[in-house]
Symmetry: C2
Subunit: 117 residues, 2 copies
């Protein structure tokens, strides 16, 4: 059993490949012995965004703090905030954006793409 403090996990500041002012932490993944489920924490700073992109793996999301926008495959934007959950299918185009004044934080769970294509 692995027990961690999220605050001890090192941050990766992402400002490349369509990522803009996004801070990523891998809370649980292969390093903790989890070969299948990967639990990541994202903090999108005000004005930040993820790329508007698509990939094979699906996303399960829980909004932890603040609010932001999710863009779907048709380009439609929906406001999402703390206490909401999302399911984004594999190969569905999507983007997270934070046009607001406070950080937008969410957990994003994926299946390990190295093991699940």
């Amino acid at each position: 059993m692995i027990i961690k403090k999220n605050s001890d996990v090192s941050e990766e500041f992402l400002n490349k490949e369509g990522m803009n002012n996004v801070i990523k932490k891998i809370l649980i993944g292969p390093e903790e012995g989890s070969e299948n489920i990967i639990l990541r924490h994202f903090r999108v700073l005000p004005g930040g965004n993820s790329p508007y992109h698509t990939h094979k793996h699906e996303h399960v999301v829980n909004v932890e703090k603040g609010k932001g926008k999710i863009v779907d495959g048709k380009g439609q934007e929906t406001l999402i905030s703390e206490g909401q959950s999302l399911f984004i299918k594999g190969n569905e185009k999507h983007q997270f954006k934070n046009p607001f004044q406070n950080p937008f934080e969410f957990l994003c769970i994926i299946l390990n793409p190295d093991k699940n294509g």
Copy 2:
């Protein structure tokens, strides 16, 4: 893409099979189109606990609110609280307990046992 409010999800009050004062919600699962990853929310009321049990599927946990105790395979108890993450291996004995005064809430992610044995 599915977008939900967690507060809209119906609760299941568990007081059976070793569960004592535990409230469960399935936030994302097969009903939302997620065939592999299942995101559940648990609220363990003061004095409540899950069974001290073992099963094949692994758990990825993020503590959302309050504090509680996790019992590991050796019977050792560790205090866990908001802002901590856990990985519990498959077949590792474990139990969640709340001996405190306030609800203890966590997200628990599993792979769909129907699809992943």
